[in-house]
Symmetry: D2
Subunit: 354 residues, 4 copies
């Protein structure tokens, strides 16, 4: 058997970091070689994350280009701004990278700089980054050297709308995505708002006036149209309202769209067919709706579609684990595709229930 | 001082029952006289609900007309179907009633029978029942003998849309209400789906194809138009998707509507003005969004309105405690109005936080 | 009617602060006059705590001696170290204070300094401070100028052991208290460990090697012996292990003690008699055990006692709301006693359930 | 490669059933052949448990002896009483069984019948059943045809006390186990007490007067003494108080014992040495305490031991996932041992965190 893929992880102390480590610990073709953290350098990973005791002997280290280039692929599990500061050297040095952050997701540099409030440090690589949504870009991912892994909310919303946009069944200019995320999506940072005594036992909307995932979603919806050779249609515009759920893991999106008048497409059949070959999209049978607990810890996206009261509004619901299909699991799915491995390798365990 | 109001409660073993008892225990002008439960007759209320130990010496009793007519007002905290079976006798006997169930909310008997799947036992009283939303019907409530207390979801949605519909600012035919409720809304029944190990730590939509609150909401939205003398407008139609939150108390609705083109109304000012005299509607300042924990245990509805990205969609968010403003608290608010008491009496305690 | 008590609160931004404000908002004989916070000075209290909107027009202010002395009583809702730095001036100026922190709870200055790791700034007032456990010290509280309000864990444990120690029914040298607290007990501070994604959905012991409440508990257990004129007995020694519960409010203590051999006291009757006149201690009937939700938001302590398997170990369980009977509610109970008001005034609302 | 183990599961609709299915879905040497359920016979397993969609094509079937004997091993994931009614035929037919219920755990039939309130249907096989705690009985498990898999609480308590009893370091007659379990331990049954709105956000003790796991624990503690050739010591007696945690998964036990006077054993070293070769017992380094989330979904038991304040009481804390090491995972560990597979096979995934 060939040698395993040497994986490096930059920024291993956050939730996407520990999720990568959890999943890669049992990936049969991966050897985690490097985990960096400036703040925890020298500390054993297994002493930092108690669930990893017995699984890793590695310690966090300071990031160095040499160490990174000794890996076959580098995952960035960092806040935005970090990957872009290191990426030129990695790519120039022949490395490959899967960035879980937002650094390379948006092709229009001005848009990125507007929403993220800082100058982009590596605009020259944005164009060649592949948006790592396998259900849209599988072929490009195979050849990619730099993957911009989709955001958690965008993944759930884009998969919900893809079959409808590809078939021009809805008005793309009046879309609504009402999403709710577990609090791990807010990252592993000591913020008052994210305390158990603040966010527990409660529910609220946030960032209603504009969440950073909005331009990413709209760009991808347009890419879906382009990939389907839809030219005349209006540009996708979506009202996106994220909410905060009082638990750690899970995203649920309820997406609303106005059906094109007179259309009689069987939406259930359309969705089932569109995703029949997709290993990580599960279209639920009629009458069943997704719940976040049915995907917890797994890379699966479960989707339901229906047209309530036979009125003109279609409702699509999708559920993913924001840390898995919404981040680290999708990153590994991309890695599997890039390295010619079975796409589901290391991602086959069922969701944890209850 | 005059004598206190003698209150009777039919069906005291559910969550709206215990909420009535909690609130009425400290209402200065109420004497709870009667609490009925067929299944628990003879058992002391304080032995049944441990939070009420020391507050009530009363026991549950079998419901009897005589006992009910000895009360100044009867609350029905029963599943639908019960209040309608007793109401003729109560009203004929000169009693007054506040029904927290759905029995008298919908004026069209056919609609009621369609959605609730049973024959209505008391259609003759439906017409004279007053829909107990004080923000819409305060004057009628003063004279009412029979109050149909609004449902929990409807309360949160109707208050969110009222100022917009009254001023014809949105297209009433394409409304969307994305709501989420704590599980106490499902009632106090031993159902598998409502177990902690099933519903905890998860989120899902349910009843997407049609929830019983849908016709109630649409009727009230039309009543709002009528009360504002809006005749030409289209009938309100709403897509309503309820979701289940993994905790006991709280409803949050995120409501979407298409703004009439060209309008430049200051929505924040409109909402603030509309509700300035309302004791239980709190329009939040710009940039602040409601969270369910800010209303837990209180009768308050907190609302925010905004127009994200200055696009054509207005988003209104509202939060209530489903057992308080969404049921028992609103019932007591109605009682206060009916009996000429200060509307806020017994409902003044701030929400519990954290 | 006489004028209301002017209350000042130092340190109003934490959980005991907001709990004082919640309770005092509906206390009929209190006027909250002053709420200090250095960090939030100038901000309206109701803008800081969304549950208080509509209840307070006051803003946070910088603490000043003059303002404090203009109050009839000052509550300290501060971390330890703050009250002791201001107390001399307040007492010298004729003020009265109820300190919810640990500053004046422990009479032995060395012990205090050892456990709290700092020099005590006001040792001269420690002796005259009254430990504000009404069930033990009601008479002293009436005359007190400075109340050291008991800790949350200590309250739950001391009430559990009081009847047994007073009657010399257990070996005081081998006591065990296994306690569990909601996370609001950890205070309102942005710490990683207290994030919802860290502390939610989990359970653990902490501070097993020595929690600061240990010396306070042992001192009070000795005071209980002294008050009962028990001189010959061994000094109380307790193994105290606190645990962290994944929700905001509630403490549950399970206390174990070895019964003196040959004793045949009816423990249930003993506890019922001991607490029959206590408004905030509820001895549950045989076979019923306390649960934290039955005291949430209330000042009640519910207790059960039993001797499993008729072996020699007695088990006492107690439940309180750590923010109410374990802090702010007990503080108000002390205030009521100090000012000659009915002890239960403002504390009569039943617990919130569900 | 040899053919896989054909596994049958009797009673697949409960939480231990779905946990077996989750774990066995990725066990490389297992083929799940049979899943029985009288109530759900004919229904596809993957339609019943949404997390298993895509993992099983099997349907529930009525249990039949023929089908069971076609399996290499049968797991019983049933309430007590079921396994004993089928076991004679299975063993007589040459089958092997791993019973997750309590049917064969207690050797004294009278004791079993007393605590479980029914006649034992298969007393003749009790003697030959092996108590499936690998850390105590690994050699016997290799040869066993019938495994009585330990209870969840017992596993956590027995592993906590084993090193101390084996070395006679504590008084076995005054042990205390204060345990807390997630609500999945109560089974998957529609009971009012287990509703989210009843058990959520709360904590309580239950079954304080005697939980069915008590005789099992005491029997095993005695077996530990016997296995260590300790004859003179007193019989183990334990006060066991279980508590209910407001989430689905996890058991935490805090165990207290009186150290033999004068002993100076290094407890930390003792525990580390005792469990150094055990794949599923992790003795935490000094100062670190177990938390349930560090073992969620995994078969690991994490343990800490210390002697607070250097007094005479030792405190041992242990955490397991009640459905994994406390039930189904331990069952699979037993199966691996019985079939000569690597003991950790299929159980190597790290715990899910957060």
């Amino acid at each position: 058997m060939e040698s395993k893929i040497k994986v490096g992880i930059v920024g291993g102390t956050g939730y996407t970091g520990v999720e990568l480590l959890r999943l890669l610990a049992v990936h049969p073709q991966v050897d985690v070689h490097l985990i960096t953290s400036r703040s925890e350098a020298g500390k054993r990973v297994a002493d930092y994350f108690p669930n990893l005791r017995g699984h890793y002997s590695l310690s966090f280290s300071e990031p160095s280009l040499e160490d990174m280039l000794a890996c076959d692929v580098i995952f960035f599990a960092t806040p935005h701004g970090v990957a872009q500061s290191m990426m030129s050297d990695i790519i120039a040095g022949g490395g490959r990278a899967i960035d879980l952050s937002a650094d390379f997701r948006i092709r229009d540099i001005n848009t990125w700089e507007h929403w993220y409030g800082q100058k982009h440090a590596c605009p020259e690589l944005v164009e060649q980054a592949v948006y790592g949504l396998p259900e849209l870009n599988r072929e490009k991912i195979k050849e990619a050297r730099l993957i911009a892994c989709p955001g958690c909310y965008p993944t759930s919303i884009e998969l919900a709308l893809m079959p409808l946009l590809e078939n021009q069944l809805v008005d793309p200019s009046r879309l609504i995505a009402n999403s709710a995320s577990g609090i791990s999506g807010a990252g592993r940072q000591a913020k008052m708002d994210n305390l158990l005594a603040e966010a527990g036992d409660s529910f609220k909307a946030y960032a209603v006036n504009g969440h950073r995932h909005l331009p990413e979603i709209e760009q991808c919806l347009q890419d879906i149209q382009l990939a389907a050779n839809i030219q005349s249609s209006a540009s996708p515009a979506i009202t996106f309202v994220p909410h905060l759920l009082p638990f750690a893991r899970g995203i649920h999106s309820t997406v609303y769209a106005n059906l094109v008048e007179g259309d009689a497409t069987n939406l259930q059949a359309l969705f089932e067919e569109r995703y029949s070959a997709e290993p990580f999209v599960d279209v639920l049978p009629k009458g069943m709706f997704p719940q976040t607990r049915s995907v917890k810890s797994s890379n699966m996206c479960r989707i339901a579609v229906l047209q309530p009261q036979e009125r003109g509004t279609v409702v699509i619901m999708s559920a993913i684990d924001n840390l898995t299909k919404g981040a680290s699991g999708q990153g590994i799915q991309n890695m599997n595709i890039m390295f010619g491995l079975p796409e589901v390798m290391g991602l086959e365990a069922p969701a944890l229930l209850p």
